[in-house]
Amino acid sequence: MMAEDTDTTAALTTPPPRGPGWSFNWVGRIGLVVILFWALVALVGPWLAPYPPGQIVDYDFFTPMSANYWMGTDYLGRDIFSRILMGSRYTVGIALAAVTLACTLGVILGMVAAVAGGWFDMVLSRLLDAFNGIPSLLFGLVVVAAVGSSIPVLILTLTAIYMPGSYRFARALAVNVNTMDFVTVARARGESTPYLILREIFPNILGPVLADLGLRFVFIVLVLSGLSFLGLGVQPPNADWGALVRENIEGLSFGAPAVIFPSIAIASLTISVNMFIDNLPTKIRDRSE
């Protein structure tokens, strides 16, 4: 039949349209480079630091930048450059661990709730909604005050604060995908819930989930800095970037660079994470569009 020909020969003659590729655009590349830079610093920073980060190296405090102290000294006369290198471990490490935990848990629970539905979805959603009602910083204050501050406690607290949001987000996306015909087809085929979640739904919510992960990472860095600013985060003599800002906030009035550099570090990390996430390769991003 003629119609038969027109329909299939078209497939043979037209070259396949160029699909989405793996390449980044330049904004994404800059973001990735900055992230990799900070990750590297977090790994090898302590060996690069010219002075031990807790040692008072200069009797003068809030000194300006000099050949000896590249970024000046802090309120006790400690080398800021060394302290930022050391602090990157805490800021990048804790935030990364917390965001990974929060998003993994949240996304998995969200997808399960969307697919299972019924009482499971209901109970979990209401519980996490209730939890969402507690102000995050207040929750952090209470936990740290009760248990004391240590790195695992910080990671778990931040995870607990950001997991419900991630759950909500993933659930909302998964509910939409769950009603699509291809999921119904898989269900009618007799597929199990884990298959539905991992193979049918997850690839289709990956793009937005990654964007959300980036945003959440930034929030966690900021809350961690906030907690440290209040003295509840990383404890002295160590300090994360937020703590560095707090310690040296008085230096502003002296025009000391001590407070500027940790702030720049926080800004560069958070902005670059967003630049990276917003410009992921189309191969990943386009999946859910």
Binding site: M1, A3, D7, P17, F182, T184, V185, G190, P203
Partner: protein, 554 residues
Amino acid sequence: MTMPLVSVKDLRIGAVTDAGRKVEIIKGVSFDIAPGEIVALIGESGSGKTTIALSLMGHTRTGCSIEGGTIRLDTSDITAMSEWARARVRGTEVSYVPQSAAAAFNPSKRIMDQVTEISAIHDLMPRAEAEKKAVDLFRALALPEAETIGQRYPHEVSGGQLQRLSAAMALVGDPKLVIFDEPTTALDVTTQIEVLRVFKSVMKQGGMAGVYVSHDLAVVAQIADRIIVLKGGEILEVGSADQILSAPRHAYTKQLIAAFEPVPHQPQGLPLQAAKPKVVLEVADLCAGYGPVRGGVPHAKILKDVSFKLERGRNLGVIGESGSGKSTLARAIAGILPAYSGSVMLDGIQLTPDLRNRSKEELRRAQIVFQLADTALNPAHSISTILARPLTFYDGLRGAAREARVIELLDMVKLPAALRHRLPGELSGGQKQRVNLARALAASPELILCDEITSALDTVVAAAILELLKELQRELGLSYMFISHDLSTVEAICDDVLVMYKGEVVEALPAARMSTEAEHPYSRLLVSSVPKLDTGWLAGLEQDPELVAQFANR
């Protein structure tokens, strides 16, 4: 000869694809429209018919732009105007009736406010006068309770009424040209008739010119004076409606018309599979519904005591309008929506209502194919992954054997093997529907439930899919349950037909004699409402008004 109202000369419209490539979608199109004339633009999806229609308002969709040629409407040169000047013309000189009236109305504003919006924006007349005019239009469009219907919200009127109201919205500014963009495509056939009829009479009374965009030749035949056949952004043929229908010149037009002619289905003489029972599917007193279940009965009962038998190698058509429960029937049989009473027997084995309690073997035998291939294929999986999954799931195939079977399946549905590396987004609508079908075939089923599988496709592509279904049936001894709202499709492939109305089977008939032997009043109404390829059909159509009032959701 009088001067044409609209003249389009060498119109070229280009678009920029996502990849940044420039393509020309309209390749030098020229035509005229005389005052009071209705011209139909007909063609398959992607032929540029809507793009041309929109350009008459000086509008192009995002990413497109008018790159050459001129469009003159009455005295104004649309192409040379500024965007601001075009806005002055829209609504007063040219107006637009969209395909989906439901999407075109703001759900939170009263109908009257939206209908008179054009006169308010252009400051044409005082509000009271505009409302009076709107009521006159409602009356002309045969809307019930013309005085008060404007006070309702869009969700309080039916789909056919809303479509007529969107025409009132377009007509309130007394335009010289009205663009109809597939206004009846989303409507049921019994509703479509009334809408077409009033559109035609209102246009005639007002002496307005119209552009009617459609893919359906039979609909166009009723309303258009002249037909322009488009393909790939070019005009293939222009002629009066009569000439196009009776003496098409271009091969493509002939193909379009041929695809429309129903080819009565010949029952297949299948090699008898002696070991298997003769009846593939037997459904008895099936009831299903949605909503919270109380006392074993769901809140909204959709299916009511549906019973039928389907013999091996035969095809059963299920026809009915939207809301008749035909898709629910397929879902209940497949177990996606567990039936709350009644039984489904497949190959002589009683199936449990919920698919979660069915065995893999039972699930394998009945496969379901959905209407929209776009949403039925996971956009993140390649074609090969999609087709391989049922093979692994049901038969445990892996590696090279699975790959070979995937290629075989693609060959069965007449797709090249190289296609398996692509993603669904990189296929055409017809190709996607073939893959969709191939996935069902991968399970080697006995029965395929086809839920409106050709409804979203162009006529010619749909005809090819039907041909493919028949061929597969001959080769594999399949049985189909074919759900459709389109009678000619059902006639082309089915042996028997069930007519459904509000969740009940009102009549069971042999497909070939459906049009002559239908006895139930609803079946008769349905059969008589299908437009024919004849320009005089609508004018000559007489329907019992009592019947219409009883069954049609107008």
